[in-house]
Symmetry: C2
Subunit: 334 residues, 2 copies
């Protein structure tokens, strides 16, 4: 039997008890060429909120009555005539929030779970890590000596952004919510400065901790923090728009950045990115990141919760800030 989180109703604002239902279905027989994957972990990402809206975006919305979309990782347990996979392969793909997935193997990738634990392959070595890597290097175009500000800095993407910027010789300031996360940035990840947006005034904190302004701002949150960051841009600064978690549950218009004319004054640019555009280079990036991890320069943190029944409560941690690093749900039952 396959426990699945089914998307039942498009939320207005924050998802509620009607958004999803937990359903149990039979696992159908495999057609020719198909494989059956037993999911061990599914990935929980802020982008999930956007996928539930019926609006034009970089990916089509999740359909009502479909399994909730998510990244996932697990093991092939059955193969019907597919030469590319064999039983026991560890694979990652877009399996959705369910315990078993059936696929012809398209867009599933084999990974070696003896080299790194599975959750890391949907975290630092997966989509969030790739987002950080290409976002800060290709869009942010950081160079040695740059002053880099990152929001959502204790999260799956932000924590990797900041560490890569440190590796590249930048000065890194992270914005996160709470004393605990800020200490994590400073003491465990080696950030130069941390700003606790929950207890500090963001403008005065930036004034104090980014005295010389910002060369690159990597934005995961939008809203007031984006606006404050824009007020501190240096000449020819780059703003990477990766997400806007503060705005995803809005029931009214998104807050636009009032300080956007700082782009004009400072000849700066603001550019959006979607990680899928870099798919052909994922392998190279993962290889580089694995080296940095081995050298102790890049730390990966996963925050793992257990039980597909706890999907909704775990999902909520994405938005209430109650997690550190990459949020992962273990769906395999022991």
């Amino acid at each position: 039997m396959n426990k699945q989180i089914i998307f039942k109703e498009r939320p207005v604002g924050v998802p509620n008890e009607n958004t999803w239902s937990l359903e149990v279905s039979d696992i159908p027989e495999l057609n020719n060429g198909e494989l059956l994957i037993e999911h061990h972990y599914v990935s929980l990402d802020p982008a999930m909120r956007g996928w539930m809206n019926d609006t034009k975006s970089y990916i089509h919305p999740v359909a009502i009555d479909d399994v909730m979309r998510s990244g996932s990782i697990g093991k092939v347990i059955k193969v019907n005539n597919n030469p590319n996979f064999k039983v026991g392969d560890c694979v990652t793909g877009w399996g959705g929030v369910q315990q078993y997935a059936i696929t012809n193997g398209d867009n599933w990738y084999k990974v070696d779970d003896s080299l790194a634990p599975m959750p890391m392959y949907i975290g630092t070595l997966g989509m969030p890590g790739m987002t950080a890597y290409f976002g800060i290097l290709e869009v942010g175009k950081i160079k040695e000596g740059d002053i880099v500000l990152v929001s959502g800095a204790a999260g799956a993407v932000g924590s990797v952004v900041g560490q890569i910027a440190k590796i590249k010789g930048c000065k890194v300031i992270g914005i996160a919510g709470g004393k605990d996360k800020c200490e994590y940035l400073l003491n465990e990840l080696g950030f130069d400065e941390a700003i606790d947006y929950k207890s500090e005034n963001i403008y005065s904190a930036l004034k104090q901790k980014c005295l010389k302004g910002i060369d690159v701002y990597f934005d995961n949150v939008g809203g007031k923090i984006l606006d404050a960051a824009l007020s501190k841009l240096r000449m020819r600064a780059r703003v990477v728009i990766c997400g806007a978690i503060s705005q995803y549950n809005n029931t009214t218009k998104i807050d636009g950045p009032s300080n956007y004319l700082s782009l004009l004054v400072n000849r700066a640019s603001m550019q959006g990115m979607v990680v899928m555009d870099y798919a052909k280079d994922y392998g190279k990036a993962a290889h580089q990141m694995a080296i940095w991890m081995k050298e102790g320069k890049l730390k990966s943190k996963e925050d793992i919760y257990t039980g597909i029944e706890n999907f909704k409560e775990t999902y909520e941690r994405l938005f209430n800030g109650d997690k550190k690093g990459k949020l992962v749900l273990k769906v395999k039952e022991d």
Copy 2:
């Protein structure tokens, strides 16, 4: 005697009768190396509003009791030992809103007023024309076949932006206020489409006239029109932030573009520009523009008012839309 517009008080919102005063002063003797310029015309530009605010910008604010800053053009009428200029030279620079300027010649440029009338040298062949040229070519990076949207399209900058885009083989849609200006865009400047923001709903007009979306948006206005344009971006679109005339007189926060996440969805970029950065290439650009004008591909329109006493009323035309093309004030008395 020199009639001067003196900046007396920083306006909050729209300038009023206390903002400037008309004063008359003696013309002092020239020091060694100086020249005396009799202004024929001064340039009126929306950027003037920003120069009056005491905020960090791309140029220092006009000081209280200084002559109001403006571009200007006139003739050298007296020289005290300066080998670079002679009496009779036609020169353009930052002379300010006054009838006579004294300078050592730094940042003043000689132009040939037998080739083009003086007002054109502070319009299409001057700062607004340079802004259009470098903005659309270097920042907008237009290429043949692009769909280009420009706001403030009947203005000094916008009208040149649209014409250059047509020369480069783009489809051009202009946004302007009023039927008269829209007809000017279509019938005199050869734009493909025109949108009258005063009588049309901007979203439905864009839906109809930019059916395939926008590759480049050149923004002179900000506010609701910027927001609407962002909703129509195509993949890898470029948004050029040149100005935000709709916001310059705000007494509250500037309206940020609520639709900025379209940058993410469409992997698009928004970049600010300031024309001074291209100063070393002004000569080349002016040469190219002069050729286009001679070939009849680029039309220049100046809207000329007369009398330094009428400065305030003429300035107001920048913001109430009551002008077409480049706004110029003749300050030389016949």
